[in-house]
């Protein structure tokens, strides 16, 4: 006597659903809860200003031009430092990637200096370059340089040897190989490095501006704290968060445009 049973359904273990509405709801709920909590008056505004208060302060600072000064100063520093660091890192990574002599010279140097927390170098950089813009840009540059150099190097070294042989079989010389095979091979790693470097750059920007500056978002935060202006302090933090999200978004868009073969 045979029985009929349904084929086992094991899809539940494999399922993973997406909850787009919940993503937004969670964020909104947090803000509403925060707002309500501050409205009860149980938490002093000095400790935790309300979200609406922070927005109002932000609008106020934008009107007065205070915000623009700080943001522009910070953006200039980060753009210069990030740009120079990325350019230097990619160049060094490419050269150490395809030239064995440069690798032998460069890799031990990079391995020895990479672990130094870059902010520890700021006092030295101030001593060398002065208290002005140069030392701040330099510390950001250093912070971006290392992940870029290491990622680019890895990207070049892990290029598919089959593609290199194929290019060589068509008579490609060294210059052609670097330009047409190694650099494109390293691009995904370069973009991973850029995203990593963007986070480091933001961190170093704030640290440098807190140590020695009279403008910038880091300065704004520290100064507001000194004056017990917690609302302004929160404006600075929100700005940093927006800056982080914006730079990541920009890099993702740039990556899509530069790597059309990665998107189906």
């Amino acid at each position: 006597m045979s029985t009929r049973i349904p084929a086992p359904d094991r899809t539940r273990a494999l399922e993973r659903r997406d909850h787009p509405a919940l993503r937004v709801a969670a964020l909104v709920a947090l803000l509403v809860l925060w707002e309500l909590l501050t409205r009860t008056g149980r938490i002093p505004a000095l400790f935790l200003p309300s979200p609406l208060g922070v927005i109002n302060a932000g609008v106020e600072m934008a009107r007065s031009g205070e915000l623009a000064t700080h943001v522009a100063t910070s953006l200039r520093r980060i753009a210069l430092g990030f740009g120079l660091g990325a350019l230097g890192g990619v160049s060094v990574g490419l050269v150490t990637g395809f030239w064995s002599v440069a690798e032998a010279v460069g890799n031990p140097l990079i391995a020895a200096t990479f672990p130094i927390p870059k902010i520890a170098l700021l006092p030295l950089l101030i001593l060398w370059l002065g208290i002005g813009e140069a030392s701040k840009v330099a510390v950001i540059m250093l912070g971006v340089f290392f992940p870029m150099a290491i990622n680019t190097h890895t990207g070049v070294r892990t290029a598919d040897p089959l593609l290199i042989r194929a290019a060589a079989s068509f008579g490609a010389g060294r210059v052609s190989l670097v330009r047409k095979v190694l650099l494109p091979s390293a691009l995904p790693m370069i973009f991973a490095g850029l995203k990593l470097g963007a986070g480091t750059a933001l961190l170093l920007l704030v640290a440098a501006e807190m140590i020695a500056a009279n403008a910038g978002i880091g300065f704004l935060i520290l100064h507001a704290q000194n004056l017990m202006e917690t609302t302004k302090l929160m404006v600075g933090i929100v700005l940093l968060s927006l800056l982080g999200v914006a730079s990541h978004w920009l890099l993702v868009r740039l990556e899509r445009a530069a790597l059309p073969w990665k998107t189906p």
Binding site: L162, R165, A167, F170, G171, V181, P184, L187, W261
Partner: protein, 259 residues
């Protein structure tokens, strides 16, 4: 263009630094417009030999010569790889143009020549696609178009269809024969598949297991043009059987050695 290999040997060091003898005294010639299959078990050094002809490896002893005159903007050799080896960041059109760029062909002629070979290999309409958007068979068509575009005097093919499923492989073999009838290239074709070697080649050079030596050279006396129907004929079966009897012992020993 003729390919002449004279007593080519290759010994390389493996990862532990132990010498491995891949080829021993391989001498063979491929005549102009001839289709020669180099047949042997896996790891017999047949790909090593092809890489030496392509100039990607140096022989430890012996020489390879290419005899004949090259036209301007013609490459001596071009290779079609088992794993296609297309540049993933280049479209079909740009991949086919790659070899022409290295030959120094001007942009306008590059585009035109690439277009011709894209049409010849049945890729028309796919010019702007990236390799990852294509099936395996289509990718290898790009590999073949890229190699043919540089008008190579000798076309080297390294198990070009062994990564494809059986049906696609059969279709691609027929297409290759059609292309060969039209272009009349000198072809050196590496394979481990006896049926494939017999179906395609004028002559089958059988290599032994490592170190690779030439065991026999077997002419295939089947009429051309060859079509799929040939595969079911007694003549075809007999030709396959003759080669299989030659390498059966070798294959069995290779199998037992690996265990």
């Amino acid at each position: 263009m003729r390919v002449v290999a004279e007593r080519v040997s290759k010994t390389y060091a493996d990862r532990l630094g132990q010498p491995v003898e891949a080829l021993r005294d391989v001498s063979l010639a491929v005549d102009a417009e001839e289709f020669v299959a180099l047949l042997g078990p896996s790891g017999c050094g047949k790909s090593t030999f092809l890489n030496i002809v392509a100039g990607l490896l140096r022989p430890s002893a012996g020489d390879v010569f290419l005899e004949g005159a090259l036209r301007p903007a013609q490459s001596a050799t071009a290779m079609v790889f088992q794993e296609f080896a297309l540049l993933p960041w280049r479209t079909v059109q740009a991949n086919v143009e790659f070899g022409l760029e290295e030959l120094g062909v001007c942009a306008r002629e590059r585009v035109a020549r690439a277009r011709d070979y894209i049409a010849l290999t049945g890729l028309a309409g796919f010019e702007a696609k990236y390799p990852h958007q294509l099936s395996g068979g289509m990718r290898q068509r790009v590999g073949i178009a890229r190699a043919l575009a540089v008008d190579p005097a000798v076309l080297l093919m390294d198990e070009p269809f062994s990564a494809l499923d059986a049906q696609t492989r059969q279709l691609m073999q027929e297409e290759l024969l059609l292309i060969w009838e039209r272009t009349r290239k000198t072809i050196l074709y590496v394979t481990h598949n006896i049926q494939e070697a017999v179906y395609l080649a004028d002559r089958v050079v059988v290599l032994s297991r490592r170190p690779g030596r030439v065991l026999a050279t077997v002419p295939v006396e089947l009429d051309r043009p060859r079509v799929e129907a040939l595969l079911g004929t007694p003549e075809f079966a007999a030709a396959v059987e003759r080669i299989w009897s030659l390498i059966k012992g070798e294959a069995r020993r290779a199998l037992e050695e690996a265990q």
